[in-house]
């Protein structure tokens, strides 16, 4: 009898801890209900489509950061790399006239290569990833500006433009990319050796090394994955904007951190949540959408945005009982 008294609260607690995102989900539902009740346009097909589009893009950005957070590092070059991949992708079509699949490969290759550089430099030199990616951010952005001279590439192939704006009802075609990527990331993190090792390295690098985990390989691969995700986000942005803007990626940094961290990622590493990150992205998207729909005075937008984030995080924590 006494035994049960001991285990019950522990079980409940650990259950809640495992589903720490329940609080965030509640906040999201609350927000959606409130918006739907007050703004008839909110649930219109087109608006849902717009939100899902923004979600598709942001979630890739957030995941790109999340894999690095998982190993206990930060990647400041997410935006720089995404932007570079975007202009290479666009430039390959516009200037070189490459067919779309090749252009995609080029963009992706840039992302993977950039990630590889980040990973190898961090691992080999033992330098703080913060410094390394800050420097490479500057390099990627510099190459971007150097190649484009701040001029966009206009010659985006029609199929790409079409893809960026195609939809089935409220479902954007972009989800065809980000949906599987999200699921794949979730499965990899939860159910593969690579994913668990990623978290092990983030949670206690020394312990992982002593257990025989190839820490260097894991770190490099994480950066490569991050680069690939950033590149995908960059290319989706091109498809969406129908334009190879050199400024793509400039303002990804904050959202890339905000969503995973709101979603429960521990900045010190070892713990991230794909579902939480998705909810974080969804909440941010919802707030942005609500601020437009509610006709907030532009001078008050930032103020409200801040309060809503604080509110959502606070509420999410209260609900998850911590």
């Amino acid at each position: 009898m006494s035994d049960q008294g001991v285990t019950m609260p522990r079980a409940v607690l650990s259950g809640l801890r495992r589903h720490e995102w329940l609080g965030l989900a509640a906040v999201l539902v609350l927000g959606i209900v409130a918006m739907a009740a007050t703004q008839p346009a909110f649930l219109s097909t087109y608006n849902i489509y717009i939100m899902l589009t923004a979600f598709s893009l942001s979630v890739l950005i957030a995941l790109s950061q999340m894999v690095i957070l998982a190993i206990g590092q930060l990647n400041l070059s997410v935006g720089g790399l995404g932007g570079l991949a975007a202009v290479i992708f666009a430039g390959a079509m516009d200037v070189l006239g490459l067919p779309v699949p090749l252009a995609i490969l080029a963009g992706l290759a840039v992302g993977l290569l950039g990630g590889l550089i980040n990973g190898i430099v961090t691992w080999r030199t033992g330098l703080n990833a913060f410094i390394v990616t800050l420097a490479t951010l500057s390099i990627f952005k510099g190459v971007n500006i150097g190649l484009t001279e701040a001029q966009p590439f206009y010659g985006i192939a029609e199929p790409v433009k079409w893809f960026g704006n195609a939809r089935l009802g409220a479902l954007p075609a972009l989800l065809l990319v980000s949906g599987p990527v999200v699921i794949l990331t979730g499965v990899i993190l939860a159910r593969t050796m690579f994913g668990r090792h990623l978290l092990a390295v983030g949670g206690n690098q020394q312990a992982a090394a002593l257990s025989g985990v190839g820490v260097g390989r894991i770190i490099v691969l994480a950066h490569v994955a991050s680069g690939g995700l950033a590149a995908m986000a960059g290319m989706l942005a091109v498809a969406r904007l129908q334009l190879g803007q050199p400024t793509i990626g400039d303002d990804w940094l904050i959202v890339s951190f905000a969503a995973p961290v709101i979603g429960g990622a521990v900045l010190a590493g070892g713990h991230v949540s794909v579902i939480g990150t998705c909810l974080g992205v969804a909440i941010i998207t919802l707030i942005n959408n609500a601020l437009v729909l509610l006709r907030v005075d532009p001078f008050a937008v930032q103020l409200l945005l801040g309060f809503l984030i604080l509110f959502a995080v606070g509420l999410g924590r209260v609900r998850s009982g911590r």
């Binding site: 006494s2 609260p9 522990r10 499965v187 992982a208 090394a209 025989g212």
Partner: protein, 511 residues
């Protein structure tokens, strides 16, 4: 010498191993030979270089000099990964677990069962449970490791070492924070492995265990071999001590005390949100009360509740006769001048990246600081040095980060800081884990002195001799409740018998 210990060739032999750290010569041409089917004791004082030797074997550190031969062929490992692949498993002294991963994942981190590239958690958990069962360890393999107690973590760590089918098994103080019960299980297991032909190296400061278990012994002193791979036969405790410290052991004799005055701490039918219930005992100034129990009995967590790191949900806790509901740890400690020596020195006892000086002085800053909180390193050093010297903390300087000390020396620092604090009530949780015999004696003496001066001490220890040496009364805990109280009259047989009866009685009641 090598020839004497076994007829066969050593599976692993080290010669002339030398390792320098800034300011420290940790190993100085040390050597050892490990034979299959033998349990080899590696002994030495704190900081003698035992752990460093193990880390050199497993490739954690590169040796500056020396050579290693595996099956007679020269070998050197770049990293632990290589050594594991060569069949060498190690249980390191420091906890090396990934806190948020589950017990099973930690045990089998590099060897998870996969099906189509996906981890088969059912199989993984089953396998982990099987390995743990051999150790008599019964915890849910799915639990995150960070929820475990220190002792449970140590057992998980051992399970992890055993999960590798190793030819050579290196155990660095595996029994430091577990009770004799678990130790017994472990030893049975080790003997089985020995009989299967595994070469085992065993590091411990508990000489009784060593004498009981090991057949060969190597002793390090200041990084050099005081003896190398000698057969244990014919060696006694006195000889081992002579090897280790180069002189005879000095004993500290227990003293008689009379506790004075009203109780300082009273617990009456306390229950907590951690699951404690029906906890009652009291503690007076100038008295040492021991808390004894098996691993996971809830002693540490009770201590947490007393200082406010966990919530008390029922009953009454009085300090100086006044009802108290501790909430904020720092506040409780400061207000009532309570000291708490944690068993988890890495997590809550020490700040590893900071110096010895800082770690000891933190509790007395307020007292030694000048106006406006002015504090100079010299002031701190002056306050700290007596303790450093008394406990023989070995380091190139008091400015050495604690994280770079040997395990035993870290433990000394974590106790020293509370000895310095002049607390009225001192809760000491496993104070001598990994501390060598000589320092242990000094520590006991220091605790004696404090009690003599009127400090009340609540001692949590899984080390029965220590309990007998220090405690006036022993409160026995089992499964988060108090099952009895045994006065300590110094006769070890009777007292431990009584304690075991208390634990056992509760077990029967529940069953």
């Amino acid at each position: 010498m090598t020839e004497q210990s076994s007829g066969r060739e050593p599976v692993l032999a080290i010669d002339g191993a030398t390792k320098r750290f800034p300011g420290v010569l940790a190993l100085d041409h040390a050597g050892i030979d490990l034979h299959p089917g033998s349990i080899h004791a590696l002994l030495g004082e704190n900081g003698a270089g035992k752990s460093t030797l193990i880390k050199i074997i497993t490739g954690v550190h590169g040796a500056d000099e020396g050579e290693m031969r595996l099956d007679g062929a020269p070998a050197a490992f770049q990293n632990p990964r290589d050594s594991i692949h060569a069949g060498i498993a190690a249980v390191h002294q420091e906890r090396n677990l990934v806190p948020r991963l589950s017990v099973a994942e930690n045990i089998l981190l590099e060897r998870m069962h996969t099906r189509f590239g996906l981890i088969d958690y059912a199989a993984l958990n089953r396998e982990a449970a099987r390995i743990m069962a051999t150790l008599g360890l019964d915890i849910d393999p799915r639990r995150p490791v960070r929820d475990l107690s220190v002792a449970q973590m140590q057992l998980v760590e051992i399970a992890k070492g055993l999960s590798v089918d190793a030819r050579v098994l290196l155990l660095d103080e595996p029994t430091a924070s577990i009770t004799p019960h678990e130790t017994g299980t472990l030893f049975r297991l080790l003997r089985d492995l020995r009989d299967e032909g595994v070469a085992i190296m065993f590091v411990s400061h508990k000489l009784e265990e060593v004498l009981d278990l090991c057949d060969t012994v190597t002793v390090l002193r200041d990084g050099q071999n005081a003896c190398r791979s000698e057969p244990m036969q014919g060696l006694g405790r006195a000889e081992l001590v002579q090897y280790m410290i180069g002189r005879k052991e000095t004993f500290v004799t227990g003293r008689q005390r009379k506790p004075q005055g009203a109780p300082l701490l009273e617990l009456n039918d306390v229950s907590t949100d951690l699951g404690h219930h029906g906890i009652s005992f009291d503690l007076r100034p100038g008295e040492t009360v021991g808390l004894y129990g098996l691993v996971g009995a809830g002693r540490t967590e009770l201590a947490h509740a007393i200082v406010g790191a966990a919530r008390i949900t029922g009953g009454s806790l009085r300090i100086d006769g006044e009802e108290e509901r501790p909430r904020d740890i720092g506040h409780t400690l400061r207000q009532h001048r309570i000291g708490y020596v944690s068993e988890d020195r890495k997590g809550e006892g020490l700040v590893l990246m900071h110096s010895i000086r800082t770690n000891i002085a933190v509790t007395i800053w307020q007292r030694i600081a000048g106006r406006l909180g002015w504090l100079t390193p010299a002031t701190e050093k002056r306050a700290v040095l007596p303790f450093v010297e008394k406990l023989e903390i070995r380091a190139p300087s008091v400015d050495q980060p604690v994280g770079l000390l040997s395990g035993g020396n870290q433990q000394k620092v974590s106790v020293a800081k509370w000895l310095a604090a002049e607390a009225r009530l001192l809760i000491i949780d496993e104070p001598t884990v990994g501390v060598d015999i000589q320092t242990k004696a000094y520590l006991h003496e220091l605790i004696h002195d404090l009690v003599e001066q009127g400090t009340a001490v609540l001692l949590i220890s899984s080390d029965m001799p220590e309990m007998l040496a220090l405690a006036d009364r022993i409160v026995v805990m089992h499964e988060f409740t108090v099952t009895g109280e045994v006065p300590n009259d110094g006769s070890s047989g009777e007292v431990s018998g009584a304690i075991m009866r208390c634990i056992h009685a509760e077990g029967e009641e529940v069953a």
